[in-house]
Symmetry: C2
Subunit: 131 residues, 2 copies
DNA sequence: TCTTACGTTTACGTTAACGTAAAGAGGAAT
DNA sequence: ATTCCTCTTTACGTTAACGTAAACGTAAGA
């Protein structure tokens, strides 16, 4: 079945440990089915895991990732919940745009330092020739 | 002097605690001068602190920020160090570009969910009128 | 002179996010 | 039958990044 994953399937695919996956379940971020005592994950679980790891890569806590997951699944929400959700979405969008700005600043600075490094290196190789 | 900051000056400016600043010094990320027993920070310290906090916002550890700081101050490096530094810079650039991609994915998804929310809400308000 | 505000060091406490080890169950292969 | 592999639960351990509290020094202001 294309929609069935064991815990080690997912662990392998995303290069994490099974402990990590169990921990996420413990925290309520994943809710796999059971076959006997073994966990069976489906596509929804897989996507959630992907979101968690993406959030992690961006410096989000698991609690923030929990929010993010909620933002991806608005189907069950009522009007009030949807409004709260929209607010959260706006907020998160602002934060992401801000992060992009910080990244761009850092990239610009790194490019600058890169140039300095290369200039210095080429200067040193010149000195080696003439000195 | 425009280039002198007390610990609480910086704490106030960046909305962090003095404990945090002392902690960064303890870890060797900041190296303020002393006036008696009091710490005196200069512009370099301020910039370093800014870099640390920017890194933090992007999910970097203090050790990674230590690396970043090194990338901003290549003056003292010799040839070998510069080459290592360049490698680190390339690596960090890759990572930052990757982070930007993740952010864009997430922004796209959020925009999508936002639309769904708004559609659902407007649908519900229609139902309220006709129901 | 006393309080208030700021600074110091030392040191134990806390939280998130897992790591790691122990002890065991269930199924497949030799 | 036993070895191997994957799975389970329980539970203590660990690290980063500070928080918090105690106990103290110093200088300004009422």
């Amino acid at each position: 079945m294309n929609d069935q994953f064991s815990i080690s399937d997912l662990a392998r695919e995303f290069s994490i440990t099974t402990r990590t996956i169990r921990f996420y379940e413990e925290k309520g971020l994943l809710t796999p089915q059971r076959q006997g005592s073994s966990r069976i994950f489906n596509m929804t679980d897989r996507i959630r895991l992907k979101l968690i790891l993406r959030g992690k890569c961006l410096g989000f806590s698991l609690e923030e990732s929990r929010d993010i997951i909620g933002m991806y699944e608005p189907e069950t929400a009522n009007t009030r919940q949807l409004e709260v959700l929209l607010d959260k979405i706006y907020e998160k969008q602002q934060l992401l745009e801000q992060q992009k700005k910080e990244i761009n600043k850092m990239l610009k600075d790194l490019k600058n330092t890169e140039q300095i490094c290369m200039d210095t290196l080429s200067l040193q190789s010149d000195e080696a020739k003439t000195g």
